[in-house]
Symmetry: none
Subunit: 140 residues, 4 copies
């Protein structure tokens, strides 16, 4: 089983931002965390608002915390809002219950990290995240 | 009134995990706290997500905080979400309003601790918790 | 590169506690964390004080935070107390600058986790930690 | 007055890491913050310990918090440790009183951000930080 490298993380960031430009999205922020939830690479496009680093990180960290994408966490938040509030309070980097946080898996299917994207509509954030992972050769 | 021992706590953990395997559950995490809410024993099965230690602990701690199982707290959270959010903010280890946290009682019926299980659906977490307590000879 | 398993973590805990009994130490608490700093196994012996779970965890978490044993962090704390105070404030699980927290390495020498022991004098806590790792077949 | 751009921030990160390799340093982490203290770019080299993102960020954030390099803050910490401890507690991202955090200035001499480097000895962290800024065409 592998560990995500800085090269892989930076490839994910670059490809996610490139997808954002291709789709004409608002300025994006992209965070890539390792399996333990620790930041490996991050980029925030010009003219982004101030909380984007924390939101991108929380989307990724939440996915690693609960073992599902932040889109799924968003669905859980509709059915069980108090549970998701509680979980967010327990996670050091918080949890953001909206699409854009996607687990990163190696070729064996084991989780080696997560990417979190924020800046546009959640669905678009997630598109950028998935494009980032695809370009890196890793799986989601 | 007795105090829960490490031997009893480890027996609860082992039996809860064994029940999980018998039921074919996802990887479980089991925390046993003493009457004061302090961790006595904990185990997290391989391939669990990152927040499981805190969730297992919060299920048990919440039960001790409010004097009812975390299943009951989950029901309270539907009727009175603001109260449960507030209580979770007050408790150092948080409160998770979902089944899986069960009070442990001695033969006199006095609370001597709590077990918290997480990893599968809440109903199944609670089954593992109850199996753990039953195997230890203590009551719930 | 490998990930620490629950079996390995529980072996470390058991062997550390056994060493404590062999040396006639005060009641010990032993925490084993994975490479990301997340708790895998924990045990607190009977008649331990309340903060032992957090102290054991912080010794191990601090070692993973800075990449050195908590004994070395204790030495750093003498030379650069403000730096260690600052680092402790930045780490979600804190840092305890005293011996007893030891990094766990796989056969390739890569860090796969850490063990933290507390309960007796720091030097003795560290002896128990090292005995725990040795018995598990892993390296330190 | 200009604002630091993502391109400039990424140039600083890349050049700082390149300097680290040229000097044979341990794995580095580099954070670039804008004038408001918000993360713009970050990279953590492989085999770094877990707290490096927070330490790099705190070195840069502290420089922006007090208006001096973190080397100077380290000197202040020797003379006035209680003040620096207090300041660190007030700053959301903390303050690390060791060299490696350097203010970034535009051609008019106005502060537009800060870089924070960690991973090796503080003096070497600062060399990498200064090399990063120099390569970006900005001033320090």
């Amino acid at each position: 089983m592998s560990r995500i490298t800085l090269d892989q993380a930076q490839a994910i960031v670059a490809a996610a931002l490139k997808e954002g430009r291709a789709l004409g999205l608002k300025p994006l922020s992209v965070a890539v965390l390792d399996a333990g939830g620790h930041l490996v690479a991050f980029a925030r496009e010009d003219n982004s608002s101030n909380l984007r680093p924390q939101i991108a990180t929380a989307k990724a960290s939440g996915a690693l915390a609960l073992g599902v994408s932040s889109r799924v966490i968003g669905e859980m938040a509709i059915e069980r809002p108090t549970f998701i509030n509680a979980a967010a309070g327990l996670n050091a980097d918080g949890i953001v219950p909206a699409a854009g946080g996607v687990l990163i898996r190696d070729s064996a299917g084991l989780v080696i990290g997560a990417v979190g994207v924020t800046g546009d509509l959640s669905d678009n954030d997630e598109k950028a995240a998935l494009a980032g992972i695809a370009a890196s050769g890793l799986a989601s």
